[in-house]
């Protein structure tokens, strides 16, 4: 029961985060971009529960509105990575042989780079925009999905229903797409959830060092970067609240992934 409790809590938190992402801009008490020169660097108070930043903007509103940007960056990157990675991995796992070797070699070469460093290099090469942050995060996540889908597909390629489908005369590609692949989805969902947390951290890290998102957009990473200069003088609220939001979102996705894994495959619990 206690394990289910953790999954229930993380799922509710997940729904709450999605809700904030969708409706955040209507819930924010102030305009996240509205500056107020007379109201800068105020500590948390009733009027501004998270305080105001160096330009007088309300931190609570910015944290709420940032949910959408962070989530959409991470979600797009993971979706792109999942589609391409699982396609490549399924092909490698189903047919083996040369496909397996080439795709495996490609995946290993990406993994030979420290992934955050590779993302920096990709963004430097393609240009400093939010789209390229998404592409870079998608590329560095590819080996993850290739590996998982390859493993799950190769487990299932000798299954009885696959043999039965072959007997019916269904072509190999259709068997892979309609029989094997849907069966690999439950474990893949677990990996997607775990990967979302990592993708959010990655995107925030890239924007912390100044790539992708530009001021005055509200995004958790860039807000922590802006708040970093004020920590040494004691204005802790500029960096704490976006950082805490980041932590909670990642923690939620990780717990969700663990809970899903316990549901899908109880043998793999840690």
């Amino acid at each position: 029961m206690s394990e289910n409790l953790v999954t229930v809590v993380s799922f509710s938190l997940f729904l709450f985060i999605i809700f904030l992402g969708l409706f955040g801009e209507f819930l924010a008490p102030y305009d996240p971009l509205a500056t107020a020169a007379s109201n800068t660097l105020r500590p948390p108070s009733w009027a501004h529960p998270f305080g105001t930043d160096n330009l007088g903007r309300d931190v609570l509103s910015r944290v709420i509105v940032a949910t959408r940007l962070d989530l959409s960056i991470a979600l797009s990157a993971v979706a792109l990575s999942f589609v391409i990675g699982s396609a490549l991995g399924s092909v490698a796992g189903f047919w083996g042989g040369w496909w397996d070797r080439i795709i495996g070699r490609f995946s290993d070469t990406i993994m030979a780079f420290p992934l955050f460093v590779l993302a920096m290099g990709i963004v430097a090469a393609l240009g400093n925009t939010v789209e390229n942050i998404i592409y870079a995060t998608a590329i560095i996540n590819l080996p993850f999905y290739i590996r998982v889908s390859r493993a799950e597909t190769s487990i299932r390629r000798q299954a009885g229903y696959v043999a039965a489908a072959r007997l019916c005369g269904i072509s190999e590609i259709r068997i892979l797409a309609t029989q094997v692949f849907p069966n690999t989805l439950p474990p893949m969902m677990v990996q997607i959830s775990l990967n979302m947390g990592w993708a959010i951290l990655n995107a925030a890290g890239l924007s912390f060092i100044g790539l992708g998102v530009r001021a005055p957009d509200a995004e958790w990473g860039i807000m922590v970067a802006e708040g970093a200069t004020y920590i040494v003088s004691g204005e802790w609220w500029l960096a704490l609240f976006p950082g805490a939001a980041l932590m909670i979102a990642v923690f939620c996705f990780n717990l969700l992934g663990d809970g899903l894994r316990d549901l899908v495959d109880p043998q793999r619990r840690t």
Binding site: T109, A112, G121, G127, G205, G210, V224, G243
Partner: protein
Amino acid sequence: MNTKLYKIGWRLLQAVPSILGVIIISFVLTRALPGDPAVYFAGAMADKESIEQVRQALGLDRSWIEQFFIYVGNLVQGDWGQSLKTGQPVTEELLKRLPASLELTIIGLGLAVLAAVPLGILAATNPGSWVDHICRLLVTAGVSLPTFFTGLFLIYIFYYLLGWSPSPLGRLDIFYLSPSHVTGFYIIDSVIAGDLEIFLGVLAQLVLPTITLGLFALAPIARMTRGAMLGALSSDYVRTARASGLSKSMVLLTYAFRNASLPVLTTLGMVFSFLLGANVLVEKVFSWPGIGSFAIEALIASDYAAVQGFVLSMALLFVTVNLTIDVILAITDPRVGLEE
């Protein structure tokens, strides 16, 4: 012993395609720039002549294969391009700053291992106890913590609130002169110079950034240690050792831990890869003059040769570290080389 050498040689050979793949991707990244790469490498201030010179030097008017060989030739000769910002060769800049980053990464990794391995062992030998729960909580929370966030908050608590730490402005307080350069590692250099004051100053500056990096590496190492120890403790050979009446510490350390240390060592390689990325963030937070800050400045200044040099050097470092770990594993694992 012959088969062991053969295995080690085979592993060394396997590193060659990895390095080749890394160089190919680096090459692609230097040519994937939107527009004319020569303009990017020549810089914003270049006139038509220098752009043409850069174009000739990089061979951009030739075929892809020729360009690739020119690129590899340049790399091998040590010409990784010029940094636009400083005007120095990229290799010089990277080598100058490498000791600072390595000092941070090695000490951070060391701290993490010192904390995580005992924690993992204790958690595995006392399943269900509070140590086990703390370990699991740390592991789950640890992978959710953004490195830059922990760094900033350590600064807030230990520098601003408590005043225990010196100001987070790099490797040494401005009051001190840096120790005379022998290795570039300030800790070693200050010991060689025999200067206790500088040594303590260097140590004080190192505390917060290395703890930040260590915290980041703690979670995966603790999780792997706990998992590997649990596996080792439930194995047949440990049961035999216990049945033979061997002492608890002998069973734990000589039998269980020795066997569990192999997957932990493999995990260290993966953790090192994450640390190289986290290094960049920590160097930004603590204004540490290492390779990471160099790369960040180069990124902002659109200094492409410098950034790609950084990416390539980090990848080569990672491949080397993995290779070293695999060779150490091959040497220390008595089962390797006995299969034939």
